[in-house]
């Protein structure tokens, strides 16, 4: 399993050609209490950096971008009733969608954990 991160604080954890996507713990802390997540429809084709989902806190709606290009093959339906899962486990149970990668080479240019941690410490 390979996990990679974006500067917009999304993560993708790749198993075979399926990438599970979400927002990082840092992003969830910045957003505060998540009250609603709009996940993408199954079959949606997304481009890296394009709109994937919307996460709503008490105060505001924030776009979540696709960390990788591909097609949405699964979504976390549990978030409909339990959006707070994003705060409780942003990088575990709080995942948003699974994407069938169309260009695995994108991962090569993304940050690994050490690089993302270094990026966070510079913010």
């Amino acid at each position: 399993m390979t996990t990679r991160y974006t500067k917009d604080h999304e993560w993708v954890s790749v198993d075979g050609d399926i990438g599970t996507c979400g927002i990082t713990t840092y992003a969830a802390e910045q957003l505060g209490d998540v009250v609603f997540v709009e996940v993408p429809p199954l079959g949606k084709v997304v481009a890296q950096g394009g709109d994937l989902a919307v996460v709503e806190s008490v105060k505001a709606a924030s776009d979540v971008y696709a960390p990788v290009s591909g097609m949405v093959v699964d979504v976390n339906a549990a978030l409909a009733d339990l959006p707070e899962t994003v705060n409780e486990g942003a990088e575990e149970g709080g995942w948003f969608a699974k994407i069938k990668l169309s260009n695995a080479g994108e991962l090569d240019d993304m940050m690994d954990r050490a690089a993302y941690d270094a990026y966070l410490s510079g913010l």
Binding site: F36, V58, K59
Partner: protein, 386 residues
């Protein structure tokens, strides 16, 4: 982090920055939007205990009659005559020690600001009115008031002081720290209190729908006052995020969002702020439109909205009736932590304004079904006497 060096500070800014406040620009000031526990917890704490809010960005001021030979009722009558040239409320009829919520209408009946006006209780302070206006409208309002009073009364700004709100069911116990007087205030009454924090002015008022107080403290005593209040286990500092969700649940307008220069007080549901004596005299700015709307109903109205699903709708979301016709727009929208669902307010055509009317709010291009609901979303818990 964006450049915050141009922002104004309050006497409490450094305290908040050192106590975990997440500082953001708001109305030209650097203010805490939330503390460590976050908006949800801060909101609920205020409804159950006591939240302390720094609202020093707002604009307190005094309007003082120049002619000191007038005293008592004659002085109040004279200052009221000036105030009633720009306010639509009954200033002359204020009881000593009473505050009123009112608006500053423009000549077309729109709203330049919403504000408080108060008459001091002390016999030797008649001929003086208290004002508190919104942060973002201060310069405009103060200029307007000073001009209206030119040659007769003088506006003295007090926005260098700290204004601190204590809100929630425990606020009445907490305020006891500065003396027993404020406990006996009724809703929308105020008084001065002399003590270790100098002369403070305490009103029983707020912006959360809860019982509570707002305290005007001179800058040099502000931090000591706040530290004393925060030493009470029932008090936590609350940021502007929860202030917004609390006022939204309480159905209270936020200027620049739910009120602006195009909305009339009648459309906004604020007819109750214009007392009968003023309606009869019809002598305030914008009275033609405002009184016409009172007599004939306005064409649109501010309403509460609740969703049938869980998606919040934000300010600017279009409102359509079930035929797909645009009937309005959301002016405030978010999540109501006490209600437990998203809540919103907006203006809709009068034909769509009845409670229970189903409407579609357009969220990210998708219609979502909402229903017109009674305001406030959470019952007010004010301390009304007798």
């Amino acid at each position: 982090m964006s450049d915050t060096s141009e922002l104004k500070t309050t006497p409490l800014t450094s305290l908040w920055a050192s106590t975990g406040g997440r500082m953001v620009p708001f109305a030209g000031y650097l203010m805490p939007v939330q503390f460590a526990e976050g908006v949800m917890a801060e909101h609920k704490w205020t409804r159950e205990k006591c939240g302390l809010f720094d609202v020093s960005h707002m604009g307190p001021a005094f309007l003082i009659l120049n002619d000191k030979s007038l005293t008592g009722g004659a002085a109040h009558a004279a200052i009221s005559t000036i105030a009633e040239t720009f306010l639509p409320c009954d200033v002359a009829g204020l009881a000593p020690g009473q505050l009123r919520y009112t608006t500053l209408p423009n000549s077309e009946g729109g709203v330049l600001d919403d504000l408080f006006v108060g008459r001091p209780k002390a016999v030797d302070r008649q001929g003086l009115l208290h004002f508190v206006v919104n942060a973002g409208c201060k310069e405009q309002d103060f200029a307007l008031i000073a001009k209206a009073a030119e040659g007769v009364a003088t506006l003295v700004r007090a926005d260098d002081r700290a204004l601190i709100a204590l809100q929630g069911p425990k606020a009445v116990d907490v305020i006891g720290n500065i003396g027993n007087g404020p406990k006996n205030l009724g809703f929308m009454e105020f008084m001065p209190v002399d003590g270790p924090y100098g002369r403070v002015i305490v009103s029983r008022s707020g912006y959360t729908g809860e019982d509570g107080f707002e305290v005007l403290v001179k800058a040099e005593h502000a931090e000591a006052f706040v530290r004393t209040m925060l030493a009470n286990a029932n008090v936590k500092p609350i940021g502007l995020g929860a202030r917004d969700s609390l006022r939204l649940e309480a159905g209270l307008c936020l200027y620049g969002h739910d009120l602006d220069e195009t909305t009339s007080p009648i459309e906004a549901g604020l007819a109750w702020t214009i007392q009968k004596v003023r309606r009869d005299r019809a002598d305030f700015p914008g009275s033609a439109r405002i009184l016409s709307e009172l007599a004939n109903k306005p064409s649109r109205k501010r309403v509460g909205l609740i969703p049938t699903d869980k998606a919040p709708a934000r300010e600017g979301a279009e409102i359509r009736d079930l035929s797909g016709k645009k009937v309005g727009v959301v002016t405030s929208g978010g999540f109501g932590p006490t209600v437990g669902t998203p809540v919103a307010m907006g203006y809709v055509d009068i034909a769509s304004a009845a409670i229970g009317t189903p409407l579609d709010l357009i969220v990210r291009d998708q219609p979502r079904r909402w229903v017109v609901a009674a305001l406030p979303f959470v019952p007010h818990n004010y301390h009304r006497k007798g």
